[in-house]
């Protein structure tokens, strides 16, 4: 219900002719997709990745690099970005998924840092400064994602699609195996199933989805820089997921919405907004055990 209301608001805002709020909606949708993709790992598979920003950054850089080669079409940029992210996801996942628990958290961080330092070291792409997008991504028909209204609606559509895909995925046999592996890996193995290929596939899907969000982000800020894949961003993604409540699909989207709103509000009120953000984070973990989604759903049921 609330989600429908939220979506309705999100759909109306771009019509008001207020680019700032339109961009805010686009931003929320973009981070919603990113948080949702991370939730597939964290919530459903129990894989706490601390390096998800790497895939976001891959999306950002693809959206920045392809126009340099004269490619602007969304139907080239998005598949390429998702493919590159999925490939890096496969490569890093092959190793990361051998580890578990704390090792997994930090090995994913390591793989993200490697990508970060590569981006930072590429002087032809501005190194640590990054670079301005030479041209925006174009939709079929020529509409440009540099237009905030177009971007907002495109990202909202992508978000709805992502939610639908995630729902289908979680209900599928594939999804059930992943959840079963999270809850009781031993039993799954006793049934003769190895969770490894399932997790790897899921890892690749989540990576690709996050790259989609990255393409949107690059168009939102018309800029690509290594900062978009720093470990702090990975931490923020985790924050969004858990703020909303993991393993609920819509929870992380809510988390992203609140996070973006919170950041805007706090930094408008005080230059020490990071202090209060930190406090909110701690309070969320210590007191609000079910996340915003649990809160809104009422009681203990998900």
């Amino acid at each position: 219900m609330l989600l429908g209301l939220l979506l309705a608001v999100a759909l109306i805002v771009p019509l008001l002719g207020q680019p700032y709020y339109t961009r805010l909606v686009a931003r929320m949708a973009i981070f919603g997709i990113a948080a949702l993709s991370l939730d597939l790992l964290v919530g459903y598979a129990g894989l706490v990745s601390f390096g998800h920003a790497a895939f976001f950054g891959i999306g950002v850089y693809c959206a920045g690099l392809l126009p340099m080669m004269g490619v602007q079409q969304v139907w080239v940029i998005v598949p390429v970005a998702m493919l590159v992210a999925a490939l890096y996801g496969a490569l890093s996942g092959l190793i990361s998924l051998r580890a578990s628990g704390l090792y997994f958290i930090f090995i994913t961080l390591a793989f993200a840092e490697i990508v970060f330092y590569i981006a930072q070291g590429l002087r032809m792409l501005g190194g640590d400064d990054g670079f301005r997008l030479p041209a925006p991504t174009l939709l079929p028909g020529g509409a440009s994602l540099a237009n905030p209204v177009v971007l907002a609606y495109t990202m909202l559509a992508a978000l709805v699609l992502a939610v639908w895909v995630a729902r289908r995925l979680s209900e599928s046999h594939f999804g059930q195996v992943v959840v079963a592996a999270r809850d009781n890996e031993t039993r799954l193995r006793a049934m003769g199933l190895s969770p490894y290929p399932y997790r790897l596939a899921l890892y690749m899907i989540a990576s690709a989805l996050c790259a989609l969000a990255g393409v949107g982000f690059a168009n939102l800020v018309e800029y690509a820089s290594p900062a978009s894949m720093s470990w702090v961003v990975s931490g923020e993604f985790l924050f969004m997921v858990i703020l909303g409540s993991a393993a609920t699909i819509v929870g992380p989207v809510l988390g992203a919405v609140v996070f973006v709103g919170l950041e805007q509000l706090l930094s408008a009120v005080t230059e020490h907004w990071l202090f209060w953000l930190g406090i909110v984070l701690v309070l969320r973990v210590l007191l609000l055990r079910q996340g915003i989604h649990g809160l809104l759903a009422g009681g203990g049921q998900r």
Partner: protein, 423 residues
Amino acid sequence: MHPMVRRSAFAMRVATVPAACPARSAIKASVAAAFTAILVVSTALGVAGTARAQAPASIRLGFIAAMSGPLSVVGAEQKRGFDLALDHLGGKLGGIPFEVIQGDSKANPTATVQELSRLIDKDRVDIITGLSTSNELVAAIKPISDARLFFIGMNGGPAVLAGEQCSPWYFNASFQNGQLTAGMGAYMAKAGVKKLYLMGMDYEAGHEHTEAAKKGFTGEVVAHAFTPIPQVDFAADIARIRASGADGVFAFYPGAPGIAFVRQWNQAGLNGKIALFSNIALSEPTVFQAQGKTALGIVVSANYFAGIDNPRNRRFVQDFRAKFGRDPASYAGLAYDSMMLIDAAVREVKGNIRDQTAFRAALRHANFESVRGPFRFNANQQPIQNTYVTQVDQRPDGSLWLRQLSVAAENAPDEFASRCSMK
């Protein structure tokens, strides 16, 4: 058995929560209320948009700088200079009442773009000033130009924005990066340096600043090295400097790495053995506290420092010291200047800043008294100004200051002006 097996960590995420005791649930309810409020407000903001009346009788000035994050030292110092300018202007800009809308660029290009969108689209500012780093500038000039607003830059100037990507909407009231070091090459040669070791942080500005230091140096450059951005331990580099046989080093390290470099240089016992040169980024009043006596003797070039002798600067420095207890850093001086520039231009068009052709012309005139001495704009709207050579010295009370040694470049433009299409 390891603890981890005991507590199945991930399964807990979706487990239901045990019934809460009354006190806890009260807390929970209030936290819940707060979160819901935030949720509602943050989304409702979108609907409660602003329908602000057009052109009030006051100017809306956007001031954006790195107020949080690792480079907020720069933003905070800019704010000090900015605030002092507000005091001196007595609440009016060119005789017109004005209101300041502040933004936080966080020293991050993407955050800058986002914050600019707020200033431009939501708060509908008329003029924008500020920014703290070169990468913020590169990201910011396009959205500002697209919005057809004038921007007066308070700190830094990457080469591309002085050359190929110059914009009629961008006035740089600080310096083109190379200008901070203009004439230092010749100065170092004259000071007797035969073998020069150049080094800097490995990012665009680091390359620009060290490149500029090389110009005009007649001796041998034994190395031109770059260290990775996160590096704060320079033991290895200092060892290499010593092994290179250099008798002079030019090192570009702003902020935290600069503090670390100077301290370690001192601890390695190189003070007084090898001459250390830089520009104002390495050693200036915001890092004097941290560098302490280890900074003594370092020679830095600058387009502004507190000791410049003119009536405007004497007043600025005196009031700054009275308010903040130390000399202003160049970030503060250049922020102050930017405000005085805007003030003069608004006065010249009698407040009619909507006439953008006239306002641009007025900004170009730069008819104000700069704290740095002579100042005017080149065709690319970058400054033509002096570069001074100063040395870190000590007052009788132990505090550090920059003593002028000479003028390295007089009324000098930047080197990229010819690449700019504006005439």
